[in-house]
């Protein structure tokens, strides 16, 4: 505290006046020898205490009043740290930048931070006065910005009142940059940017300052709480989990603890509308950890939405506590099986085991569409033969399997090679009809390596020795997607006995050639190579039980399924329907005449007429809220239905969950703005008004006491 006129404090000696009067008054009290003192003493017992109290109160009141007069004349003031910037009323240009990122929904004392910030901004708006030209710029990423300053303060106030936290992270630098542009166009000398922001590190780019030294003055409103702990689900992935059955899914949720204390969080996995799994996670300070949930999709469902949510009593920001993902069974793989050795006895057929493995139980939801043809029918294949009678359109298939097929004619092999080169996948397995010489002549474009005559490891062996001389699979690439379901020594593969295998010859022109598995004798068992954008797999033994007993081992089904999916490139399809808030989503619209998208809060759009007819896809951009967006479509026949394959989820940008404060150096320098710098942190508060009011009250009290 200080005084503007400290000399006036000399007057505080006036404090002695009432004290002296009181003391002298006591000494000068008239002495009366009184006979009836007993009557007075009786009265005194009831009133003396009150009288003494009154006298002392009077003394205090009078002394304080005297001191108050002197202190008030000395004009006391105090300096305090300014909570808000110094706002000067009058003609000027100002931009209020307010953080409406999803982090602005951070609860402080039960209220969103944004409300507090908006209240403060309204106060500044009022203080700036009607002559100020002002704009309000929102600091969330990709927010729409005003194009000019305005004096319509009423509208600006309504804008502030209507502000709600968006679902986007903050981009404070961009907002400041726009504010500088608006102010640069102003003719006012005094230009100020008022920044109401959480000042999170992710929103500021120190290397990209919004203005130089001659920029506007920057007044930062100190609204950030001292501590902003936050917990968030920052990632959610889903993958097929063949170990849990054909409908098995593995959900990997990553949870981050953006606080300086360890936290324990509870997680729950919801599929559809049901919570199917729960778990807990202990997170150290500033820690990120993943939690894996294994679950199966409900029967009869090929695709649904799932979410992982965390609950913690210490989390003040709820919007990033949940993350959605689309969980769908692998897309149906269309496989063309070419049977090189068809038999009338079912279990003797070359494809008996393969077909059973690709369509277990022959169910529709097995994820595989299989068409079987003979090697002869393969003569009719065409790369694009839509509508051509009797032709086989390769474009309708993802994978072609040549099982024990004799060498194809050169032109057929070329057609297949071209198809593979354009993205197809082919698997070749030899058999008794396999002729290495013929293969060398025509099939080399499809092979990763040329083939030689097969060897029979049990040739000449007695039935007792047969098993012991069989080969086994060893050294498979356990990191490869095909062998992902298996451990390095998985008995379901290692126990399979191979009696006859084809040996390999010189390499071909294919790229990325790799041996994925070998037999116990070192010979290659499975090879892969790239042909253009397609892939080829070569198994050096049969797909049925002619040369081995793999088909009757548990590893056969996942091995075949994984190989087919690998060739069809369907592994990466899980979760591909995830989008960030604000992103534009392309939706395929084949044969649709109307498409409707509905998201959370019933936000959506309808595409029909010119917006969809004649187009193969439409773009949906109103992804402003996180959650699941469902799609219904009407085809040209007028059939309306839910299009699960087009549904997608929108999640918030996990960058915005990290509320770590940016260092002061990350803020742009405050320019002069043509006026006084608002960086002055202290404010003088004059106290004499309060003292004068107190003095009046004291005099009133003195009057009342005297009256009593």
């Amino acid at each position: 505290m200080g005084f503007l006129a400290p000399l006036m404090l000399v007057g505080i000696v006036a404090l002695a006046v009432p004290i002296a009067i009181h003391l002298i008054g006591r000494r000068r009290a008239r002495v009366v020898k009184f006979a009836a003192l007993d009557f007075l003493m009786g009265t005194k017992r009831r009133t003396a205490r009150r009288f003494r109290l009154r006298e002392r109160l009077l003394l205090i009141v009078r002394a304080v009043a005297c001191a108050a007069v002197a202190i008030a004349l000395a004009k006391p003031y105090t300096s305090c740290s300014r909570k808000g910037p110094q706002v000067t009323r009058g003609p000027q240009a100002a931009v209020i930048v307010i953080d409406d990122s999803f982090a602005s929904g951070y609860l402080i004392d039960g209220q969103p931070w944004l409300k507090k910030a908006a209240d403060e901004c309204r106060r500044i708006l009022q203080q700036l006065g009607p002559e100020a030209e002002i704009a309000i710029v929102r600091a969330s990423e990709a927010a729409e910005h005003p194009t000019e300053l305005t004096r319509d303060h009423l509208r600006l106030r309504d804008q502030l009142l209507a502000l709600e936290p968006s679902a986007r992270p903050a981009d404070t630098t961009r907002a400041l940059s726009h504010a500088a542009q608006l102010l640069a166009a102003s003719s006012h000398a005094r230009r100020t940017v008022f920044l109401a922001s959480l000042l999170a590190k992710h929103g500021l780019r120190p290397n990209d300052p919004p203005w130089g030294k001659d920029g506007p003055a920057l007044a930062v409103l100190e609204l950030r709480p001292s501590s902003m702990a936050n917990l968030a689900v920052t990632s959610l992935r889903v993958d097929a989990d063949p170990g849990a059955g054909s409908r098995g899914m593995a959900f990997d949720a990553e949870v981050a603890n953006y606080s300086d204390v360890a936290q324990k969080v509870e997680l729950s996995l919801t599929i559809g509308e049901r919570v199917v799994a729960r778990g807990t996670l202990d997170l150290a300070a500033r820690d990120k950890r993943s939690k894996r949930f294994l679950a199966a999709l409900p029967p009869g469902t090929r695709a649904t939405d799932a979410s992982v949510a965390i609950t913690s009593p210490n989390d003040a920001l709820a919007v990033d506590d949940k993350r959605w993902v689309r969980a769908s069974l692998a897309d149906r793989v269309r496989v063309l099986l070419v049977n090189g050795d068809p038999r009338t006895v079912r279990h003797d057929d070359e494809l008996f085991y393969l077909e059973a493995a690709l369509r277990p139980g022959d169910r529709e939801d097995s994820g595989t569409f299989v068409r079987t043809i003979t090697a002869e029918e393969l003569a009719g294949i065409e790369p694009h033969a839509r509508g051509k009678a009797g032709a086989i359109d390769l474009a309708e298939f993802d994978v072609v399997v040549l099982a024990n097929v004799a060498a194809l004619a050169a032109e057929r092999a070329t057609v297949l090679a071209d198809w593979v080169r354009s993205g197809g996948g082919i698997m070749i397995a030899p058999g008794d009809r396999f002729d290495p010489a013929a293969y060398d002549r025509t099939m080399l474009p499809l092979l990763p390596q040329s083939l030689r005559d097969p060897i029979d490891t049990t040739w000449g062996a007695t039935p007792q020795d047969r098993d012991s001389r069989a080969l086994h699979l060893v050294k498979w690439e356990s990191d490869h997607p095909i062998f992902a379901p298996f451990s390095k020594t998985a008995p379901e593969l290692a126990d399979a006995k191979f009696f006859k295998i084809a040996l390999l010859g010189p390499t071909t022109d294919t790229a990325d050639r790799k041996v994925l598995a070998r037999f116990t004798n070192g010979a290659a068992a499975l090879l892969e190579a790239s042909i253009g954008t397609g892939r080829t797999l070569l198994l050096t033994s049969t797909l049925d039980r002619d040369w081995n007993d793999l088909p009757i081992h548990p590893g056969y089904l996942p091995f075949v399924q994984q190989s087919i999916r690998y060739l069809a490139r369907k592994h990466g399809s899980f979760g591909s329907t995830e989008h960030a808030v604000g992103s534009s989503v392309a939706l395929a619209t084949p044969d649709l005449k109307k498409l409707e998208v509905r998201g959370p809060d019933n936000v959506g759009a309808i595409f029909e007429g010119d917006r969809i007819i004649g187009r193969t896809s439409v773009r949906f951009s109103r992804t402003e809220r996180p959650g699941v967006y469902r799609v219904t479509g009407t085809d040209k026949a007028g059939a309306n239905g839910v299009r699960d394959e087009l549904a997608f989820v929108v999640n918030i940008d996990p960058r915005g969950s990290d509320l770590t404060a940016a260092p002061p150096s990350a803020l742009p320098p405050s320019g002069t703005g043509g006026g006084s710098s608002p960086s002055d942190e202290s404010r003088r508060i004059e106290l004499w008004h309060a003292l004068a009011a107190a003095l009046l009250l004291l005099l009133l009290a003195e009057g009342l006491l005297v009256q009593r």
């Binding site: 006591r26 002495v31 009366v32 020898k33 009184f34 006979a35 009265t43 005194k44």
Partner: protein, 307 residues
């Protein structure tokens, strides 16, 4: 009845000896009265006495006037002589003076005048004083004129020395009860009755019950009744070391209520016992006080006459 002109007690106090003061009071009070209410009467003639104011005109011996050209009053042999005890409360509380004369002085003057009057009537008068426990002041009742001088001398000493001590009048009254046990007497107490206990009131009632004629001159200073103080005042007790610094205005109402209750109690208790009670303020003319006393006694019936 023509009331005498008022004689200011303060002015009276400045007069010479107490005898003169007493005579002035008596003459002022009784001049013009045609009948002395306190005079004894009998059927048997005793002697002549020169007329003095207050004597009954019906006792004037007109024959003697015709022969001697002087007024003589016929005196009759009284059946019994009146014995009067005047009791002066000379305790310290009686020394209070609110501006006029102290209560003890006023009371002394009144009793002196009464003694003078009684001696004039050739009755016996005695004095008992209380206050100072160390000194027992008592003048036995006599009817001689010389006795009056002795009595007034003692009274004068008491008044001159001033009141002191805290002895209650009850002690003096007890002594009188013992002395006047065989013969009824007129007992006149001049006191402020500021007594911690009710002993004085009880003894007064007891004396009355013993068929004595009891009169109380309840002597109070006007300041004690009106409490006219203002401003910060330190009140000091006259009998105890108690002191009180107080703003009188704050306690005036309570004080007056307590004082009023005290007076009501005294008046009520004494009236119930048949005691003749007179509240006397020290600014009141002494002759008026004496007259009131005489008149009040004259109104009493023969049964109440201590003759």
């Amino acid at each position: 009845m023509n009331l005498p002109e008022r004689i200011d007690p303060a002015q009276l106090a400045r007069l010479g000896s107490l005898t003169i003061k007493a005579r002035v009071i008596v003459e002022g009070a009784l001049s013009g009265l045609h009948r002395a209410s306190v005079h004894g009467s009998s059927v048997e003639f005793a002697e002549h006495k020169e007329y003095s104011p207050g004597d009954e005109l019906r006792h004037v011996d007109w024959k003697a006037y015709g022969k001697l050209d002087r007024y003589y009053v016929k005196q009759f042999e009284q059946e019994s002589q009146l014995t009067v005890y005047v009791v002066l409360d000379a305790s310290a509380s009686m020394a209070f003076s609110g501006g006029g004369i102290p209560k003890v002085e006023y009371a002394g003057l009144a009793l002196a005048a009464l003694a003078y009057l009684v001696i004039q009537q050739q009755d016996k008068v005695g004095l008992v004083a209380c206050g100072d426990r160390a000194i027992e002041t008592m003048v036995p009742p006599r009817a001689r004129t010389t006795h009056l001088h002795d009595l007034l001398g003692v009274l004068d000493t008491l008044m001159t020395k001033g009141a002191k001590g805290d002895e209650s009048p009850a002690a003096a009254l007890s002594r009188i009860a013992e002395l006047a046990r065989r013969r009824r007497a007129l007992i006149v107490l001049a006191s402020d009755l500021f007594d911690d206990s009710d002993d004085t009131l009880k003894l007064l009632a007891q004396l009355r019950a013993q068929r004595h004629d009891v009169t109380v001159l309840h002597t109070l200073d006007p300041h004690e009744l009106a409490f006219p103080y203002d401003g910060l005042t330190q009140f000091e007790s006259l009998e105890t070391p108690n002191k009180l610094l107080v703003n009188p205005a704050a306690i005036k109402k309570d004080y007056l209520a307590r004082m009023d209750a005290f007076l009501t109690k005294c008046r009520g208790t004494l009236a119930a016992a048949g005691v003749d009670y007179h509240l006397v303020q020290t600014d009141r003319a002494l002759e008026r006080t004496l007259l009131d006393l005489v008149v009040a006694r004259s109104r009493l019936g023969p049964g109440r006459r201590a003759s």
